[in-house]
């Protein structure tokens, strides 16, 4: 029992020491941001500028993606059904199409419904349509098919076309295919741009911090001489990097929070036409802010870590 207590005391002392060292390193990390103010400001502004660009890239790419998604959701295969088909046959056809893997949903629109819809568009049209009876209605019953994967929309359309009782299939073939190519390109371009930006950010920040730390080579040398372990040398620098990253992300976060909200308000949530909707400000700007702060902190810490490591090899 006594032995056990003795062992535990030793553990407690070790833990206390570690905590003390950690707290001191936090203190020193913050202190040296102030002590090396000019270089800290250089690092912070470097992080600020790159994060501003990253924030813009995130906002633009997310909006493009959102737009793409919205337009894609509108892609529909309109299936015209032979007028000879009975209600039961139409129901069977509906079930058949539902079995296809790529089919998201299916909606049956009878010719009467379509006629009613058309009536609402203009009075002239309404007058004509009013003369139609159930039998003389020249329109077709249609099935509106939405697909899961819009890239395979033409395959699915062909499949449907081959079915019995299907008169014709329309999905704006050319326009859809052209749009798909554009979207695919946009998505790839956005991904490449984002990766490139993050890499450039990392490179720039690592270098700026390297310069900051280079001026403190002597400090590291002395720390080694008086017996600081590599870990305890790195720690204050990494914490300093954390501070720099955090401070550097403040302005980009502010710009995102106020700037995007103002932009959204100004355009009333849509760009040029009601089809192009902006991503709603509310949860979006908070997510972007968190991403920016996280990115700043991670990049700052990583940059410092890499820069110090260079001076620890002997």
């Amino acid at each position: 029992m006594v032995n056990w207590l003795k062992i535990m005391r030793k553990e407690v002392i070790v833990v206390m020491k570690a905590i003390r060292i950690f707290l001191r390193n936090i203190r020193d990390g913050f202190k040296s941001v102030g002590r090396n103010l000019s270089l800290s400001i250089a690092s912070i502004s470097c992080i600020t500028i790159t994060l501003l660009i990253v924030a813009t890239a995130i906002v633009v790419s997310y909006n493009v993606e959102n737009m793409t998604k919205l337009i894609r959701e509108d892609f529909t295969i309109v299936t015209f059904i032979n007028t000879s088909a009975t209600d039961e046959q139409i129901k069977d056809l509906e079930d058949e199409i539902k079995k296809y893997k790529n089919v998201e949903s299916i909606e049956h629109e009878t010719k009467t419904q379509i006629a009613d819809e058309m009536k609402n568009t203009s009075d002239d049209l309404a007058n004509i349509i009013d003369t139609w009876s159930e039998e003389t209605n020249p329109l077709y019953d249609t099935l509106l098919v939405k697909v899961k994967d819009t890239e395979k929309i033409s395959d699915t359309a062909k499949q449907i076309e081959k079915l019995e009782l299907v008169e014709d299939v329309k999905y704006g073939k050319e326009m859809v295919e052209e749009l798909l190519v554009v979207f695919k390109f946009l998505e790839k371009a956005m991904i490449v741009a984002m990766i490139a930006l993050v890499l450039v950010t990392l490179f720039l920040i690592t270098n700026t911090i390297k310069i900051t730390i280079f001026s403190r080579k002597r400090e590291i040398e002395i720390m080694r001489l008086v017996g600081a372990s590599n870990f305890s040398i790195k720690q204050p620098f990494v914490i300093e990097g954390l501070c720099l990253g955090f401070l550097g992300s403040l302005i980009p976060v502010g710009v995102t929070l106020y700037g995007y909200s103002a932009l959204y308000e100004h355009f009333g949530g849509q760009l040029f036409s009601p089809f192009i909707k902006l991503v709603e400000a509310e949860p979006f700007i908070y997510v972007v802010s968190i991403v920016l702060i996280g990115l700043g902190i991670v990049v700052g810490m990583f940059g410092s870590y890499r820069a110090v490591r260079k001076y620890l090899k002997i």
């Binding site: 001191r24 002395i222 008086v226 600081a228 590599n230 002997i314």
Partner: protein
């Protein structure tokens, strides 16, 4: 029982310079040893190997029973904590106060703040700078800066104090002041190894003198002086 032991030590630098060879040297606990010799005689290399800034190419170096040559890079800090080192250029951090410069060497061990304060003040008292705790290094004279560096080196009560030309930048009067402080530390039981060019000082101190020439130990005198080998 010798505290420091060099056995068949040889050091060849990567560029082929043979800095030290055939080195056999023993230093007892509590001794005060001057390492003298012309520039390029291997003094600095010898000293650097003691605190494992350089690794010997051959042979063994024991400091307090530990083979320094075998200490891994990642464990060097453990050795350094047992050794105090003083340099010609003081190596103080200009942006820290005198107190912080000395405390720095203790804080990295995670000592409680109160204990750090006690030890720092004790060390500064020993070197006679207790009144300058809040000054910055560039507000001090060279001698005072060197005394701060000595306080930092001994604050952790090391068994060994290594001095690499500690008076190299100081005028004779100030040098004497610094030497007195180092002698006081020696009287308290710390082993001292000092590389120096300061002829006058060596003659005055009457301590053990080890003379190096072209990387070789050529003379080893108890209570020696510069003149004793010059006359031989």
């Amino acid at each position: 029982m010798e505290f420091i032991k060099f056995r068949d030590v040889e050091k060849t630098y990567k560029n082929g310079v043979n800095a030290v060879y055939d080195m056999n040297l023993e230093i007892k606990k509590g001794e005060f040893v001057f390492i003298i010799g012309a520039s390029g005689s291997g003094k600095s290399t010898l000293i650097k190997m003691l605190y494992r800034e350089e690794k010997p190419s051959k042979g063994e170096i024991y400091v307090g029973g530990v083979n320094v040559a075998k200490v891994k890079n990642s464990k060097v800090y453990k050795l350094r904590r047992k050794i105090g080192i003083v340099f010609q250029d003081y190596k103080l951090l200009p942006k820290l106060t005198v107190y912080e410069n000395v405390a720095f060497a203790l804080e990295i061990y995670g000592l409680p703040t109160e204990e750090v304060r006690k030890k720092v003040l004790k060390a500064l008292d020993l070197v006679g700078l207790k009144s300058r705790t809040k000054s910055y290094p560039d507000q001090l004279s060279g001698g005072e800066q060197q005394r701060v560096a000595i306080a930092r080196a001994i604050v952790n009560s090391p068994k060994l104090l290594i001095c690499d030309e500690p008076t190299g930048n100081l005028d004779p009067d100030t040098s004497l002041e610094v030497m007195k402080v180092i002698e006081k530390i020696n009287d308290l039981g710390t082993t001292i190894v000092m590389a120096t060019h300061d002829r006058e000082m060596v003659n005055k101190m009457k301590k053990r003198v080890v003379l190096l020439d072209n990387g070789k130990l050529v003379k080893d005198y108890e209570k020696g002086s510069y003149s004793s080998y010059e006359s031989n």
